[in-house]
Symmetry: C2
Subunit: 325 residues, 2 copies
């Protein structure tokens, strides 16, 4: 399924180790992003099927279809031995079971993130974390989550891939898709760097309602306005974070306050996003504690957290304002 271009890039990153990750898991999951995009594209009338998923969200028919695309891909990769998703948040062994010589990976994924902005036809995303283990729970994310994919389902289909084997710096790249699904590496080396004084600076403040009860957050937003930052906030976690990755800088904030609890799922949202941001040279912190997101093991599939992520300088400014403030 992969074009020589993607295959060549993956071979240069993984010349000898992890052959099943390189030749099957990553190319097949990336091909699956294109299938999900096609499924969404050919659903001209997006309807709510009237059921709620395990977290109580309204579930759209396209959520179920996207979940099906990824489950089908999992069934075709024997080295993916365990999987869970936001739609079905219980870790389960995959069938068919792996052979003794296989690598063993666990997938944790959110098949279609951004339900509230599907109806107005705004860009949404797919989030996948790949763990080098038979479970994603109670494992140190910084060493055991070795890859992540953010699929961007927009006017085009694109995907951001992060890969970091233990002991390496990690790498982050973007792929584009042709109409037929052929994959090309369009940005081989994504880097988040601190903007210079001349650059437009971007901020993406999630849950701005929380600022009504939290003066530190209100003060921070007012400061961004006064310093003439440009606002970009779609309300879709994937497009909002990918905006910074493609522009090369920016800061995304999902606060946790006394009146507003943590919203993002550690396993399906925070951990993969944090790996991508770190592999691009950025910083991803828990907005409640200021700790690195990837320092903390995930204990439960429904565990939540807050997030500050982006280029280092601006994340540090937000950390000081919200936590030391």
């Amino acid at each position: 399924m992969a074009s020589p271009d993607l295959a060549a890039h993956l071979s240069s990153l993984l010349p000898s180790s992890h052959p099943q990750l390189r030749d099957q898991v990553l190319p097949k999951l990336l091909a699956c992003i294109h299938d999900i995009a096609n499924t969404l594209r050919t659903s001209p009338s997006v309807t709510q099927i009237g059921t709620a998923n395990a977290f109580g969200d309204n579930q759209l028919n396209v959520d179920v279809l996207a979940e099906g695309c990824i489950r089908k891909t999992i069934a075709s990769c024997p080295s993916i031995v365990t999987a869970s998703s936001e739609e079905d948040p219980i870790e389960k062994a995959s069938t068919p079971s792996s052979s003794p010589g296989d690598e063993k990976y666990t997938l944790a994924f959110d098949p279609l993130d951004g339900s509230s902005i599907i109806a107005p036809n705004w860009s949404v995303g797919t989030i996948i974390g790949i763990w080098d283990s038979t479970s994603a729970l109670h494992q140190p994310p910084s060493t055991h989550q070795i890859a992540a994919i953010l699929g961007v389902l927009g006017p085009r289909t694109t995907a951001i891939v992060a890969l970091r084997l233990p002991g390496t710096q990690g790498t982050c790249f973007e792929i584009g898709y042709s109409a037929a699904g052929t994959m090309q590496v369009v940005r081989p080396n994504i880097k988040l760097t601190d903007p210079t004084a001349l650059k437009t600076r971007y901020f993406s403040p999630a849950n701005m309602r929380a600022a009504a009860d939290e003066p530190k957050y209100l003060h921070l937003i007012t400061r961004f306005v006064k310093e003439k930052y440009t606002l970009r906030y779609s309300g879709g976690l994937v497009p909002d974070v990918v905006h910074a990755l493609v522009k090369g800088h920016g800061v995304y904030i999902s606060p946790v306050t006394a009146q507003s609890e943590a919203k993002l799922r550690r396993l399906y949202e925070l951990a993969p996003i944090a790996l991508v941001v770190e592999c691009a040279g950025g910083v991803a912190l828990d907005s409640a504690t200021g700790d690195r997101v990837l320092e903390r093991c995930v204990r439960d599939t429904d565990e939540r957290g807050g997030l500050i992520c982006g280029n280092g300088d601006e994340v540090e400014q937000v950390r000081r304002a919200l936590i030391e403030g």
Copy 2:
């Protein structure tokens, strides 16, 4: 190209008058939105071609391709006698010229609005105003701009159509496209209504940087935060306004302040957006004067203005805050 569904809907709206508008101009322009979406979709690597358009924006290769799609459609509709666009802002007679019995329309269009968010793969739009005249300039927009199309180029392709013949209330509907381009009316009657106390309320504040120098705008934004409105601001005019249309309520604000001049082009952006919002039962005001956008003739293709639009109650609150404030 039109499915019986779209054709039937247009026939019910225009049973006897304007046959060329009903049978050619609207169906062909709507089919063209699908062509533009395909063009954007199959440009995996979006590049800047290094030229600037007449307004000094950076022009992307996809802007040029989208302009070409619409110009080709114009050439196939003899009743479109004049056209100008943001890319080529001079009103020119179309070829082939019309026959004596033809209806006579002028098109004013922005082929691809939202250049700055194309690279991160966020939804963007196409804006088309259709004028029942041989020019769009120096004509009262409220009576002479009789139709408008907002194409939404996102994970799906959708379009909002507004139609208002002089003396009628006007109507606003949404169409969806199959993968092959077949068009279906998915929302036959879009209405903006004032939200009840229980509903989530949305605001979309453009150019928030202007609040740094304009206390009225900063105060308004702070009030929205304190009243726990939900922020949705992509920076793309079409997706931002369509968000309100699809949710049924919401307010979009593009301010004009002493330090920040008007940004939106009256001919290519303000007039078509205002027609769509009014046909959906909403209100579209000039944010500098508080006057109805469609009350004022467009004198020049580069003329700019500010905008407050959405459901009536919230537009009125913003008008009071920014103009009477």
